[in-house]
Amino acid sequence: MDKSSSHRLLPLKRNWWLKHRFFKLYMLREATVLPLVFFILCLLAGMVALLQGAESWQGWVDFMGSPIVLVLNLLALAASLFHAATFFVLFPRVMPLRIAGHSLPDQAIVAGQWAGVVAVALLFFWLLGRA
C-alpha cells in the first residue's frame, strides 16, 4: 500500500468531543468526578478538623452548612447518581452474570444494582437516625 498517503492523516483536535452529542454525554459522565472531588476534600477537611479539637470542628460544621457548600454537595450527589445510572447500564455488558449456564437478563442486573443503592441508603438513614 501507498505509505506516502499517511500525511493526509490529521491529528485529532482538542475539541473533538464537541462534534457529537454522544461524545458530549460521555464527557459529562467523566466530568461527574469534579464535584465528587470537592465532596471528598470536604470530608478530608472534616477529619483534620476533628483531630484539631472542638473549635475547628465547629468551624467545619458551620462551613458545611453554608449555602454555597450545600449547593456544591447537592451537585455532587446529583453527579454521582447520574454516574451510577450510566454505570449500572454498562455493568451487565462488562460482566454478564450467568447462573447455572443461563445468562441473567440485563434489566434484572440493573434493577439489582439500584436495589443495592436503596438498601445502603436505608441502612445509613437507620444508623444516623439512631445516633
Binding site: M1, D2, S5, S6, H7, R8, L9, P11, L12, W16, W17, K19, H20, F22, F23, Y26, E30, L90, R93, V94, M95, P96, G101
Partner: protein, 255 residues
C-alpha cells in the same frame, strides 16, 4: 425510518457534498456538490454509483457486496461512520456530507488506507490455538472440535464482525493514538478467548494486557452505537479488561 412502506414512488432530487482528494492534481482536499435523482430505495452506495456512472467518473470509493457483509463501503455521513450500502438517503433531509472514514490516512477521495487496522487484527492471533499437536486420524479419540450450542452462544455475537472499521472511525482513543489495538481487534481476541475449543488466551494476553491493548479504552461506547452488525465491541473490550485484570492477579500470586 419506516421499512414497511418503502416504495419507488417518492422520487426527488437530493444534494450530496462529497469530500474529494486527488493527490495527482492537488495536495488539498475540497468539497464537490452533486445533484441526483433518488427514491425511497436509493442507498448511499447506489447514489455514489449513479455519480460515477452518470455524472463524474473520477470519483473513487470502495464497495463489493452491496449487502452489508463485505465491510468495504464505510464512509462518514454527516460526521458519523456508516456503511454506504446500509444507509438510505430517504432518512436524510437537507445537506448530506460524505467524507472518507475518520482516523485513517486518505489515499484518494473516499478510499482510506486500512493497513494499520489489519495489522492490529493480525496482532491478536485471531485463530484457534490448540495445544495438541496435529494427530493422525483416530476414530476412537474424542472429537476435539465438538461444541455445544451453549458454548457457541458465549462468543457468537462477537463473531459477527465484518471488519468494516466503522468502530475505529468512531473511537476517539484510536484517533488520538493509532497504536491502540482498537475495538474490532480486541473484540476478535475476546471472541477466541471465549471459544471452548481455544487454548490461546495466555498468548493473547501479552497483546491485550498493556496500555495499547484493553487499557487504552475509556468506554466511550460510540463504537457499539455505529457497528452495523450489533457486535457490541465496547462490551467485548471491557470484558477483556476484567480478563486482563484477572490475568495480572493470577500472575502476581504465582510469582
Amino acid at each position: 425510518m419506516s421499512t414497511e412502506q418503502v416504495n419507488t414512488n417518492n422520487t426527488s432530487t437530493k444534494h450530496l457534498s462529497v469530500k474529494r482528494y486527488l493527490p495527482d492534481n492537488s495536495a488539498e482536499s475540497y468539497w464537490q456538490e452533486y445533484e441526483l435523482p433518488v427514491d425511497d430505495s436509493t442507498s448511499l452506495l447506489d447514489a455514489l454509483n449513479h455519480i460515477k456512472e452518470q455524472l463524474d467518473s473520477t470519483l473513487s470509493y470502495r464497495w463489493s457486496c452491496r449487502m452489508a457483509i463485505c465491510g468495504s463501503c464505510g464512509v462518514m455521513v454527516n460526521g458519523i461512520p456508516k456503511l454506504g450500502c446500509k444507509t438510505f438517503l430517504r432518512d436524510y433531509e437537507g445537506d448530506i456530507r460524505i467524507e472518507p472514514l475518520s482516523h485513517f490516512p486518505v489515499q484518494r477521495d473516499l478510499v482510506v488506507d486500512m493497513a494499520i487496522f489489519l495489522e492490529h487484527l493480525a496482532a491478536v492471533k485471531p485463530y484457534l490455538i490448540d495445544d495438541n499437536p496435529a494427530k493422525p486420524y483416530d476414530p476412537t479419540a474424542p472429537e476435539t472440535y465438538q461444541q455445544s450450542p451453549e458454548q457457541l452462544a458465549r462468543y457468537k455475537q462477537f463473531a459477527n464482525c465484518i471488519n468494516c472499521g466503522l468502530c475505529y472511525s468512531a473511537c476517539p482513543q484510536f484517533g488520538l493514538n493509532p497504536e491502540f489495538l482498537g475495538p474490532a481487534a480486541l473484540t476478535l481476541a475476546h471472541r477466541y478467548n471465549l471459544d471452548s475449543r481455544d487454548h490461546g488466551k495466555k498468548q493473547r494476553m501479552a497483546e491485550l494486557n498493556r496500555h495499547e491493548g484493553v487499557w487504552s479504552c475509556t468506554f466511550v461506547g460510540f463504537c457499539s452505537k455505529v457497528c452495523p452488525k450489533n457486535v457490541d465491541p465496547a462490551a467485548a473490550v471491557n470484558q477483556g479488561k476484567v480478563e486482563a485484570a484477572k490475568h495480572t492477579l493470577i500472575a502476581l500470586f504465582k510469582g
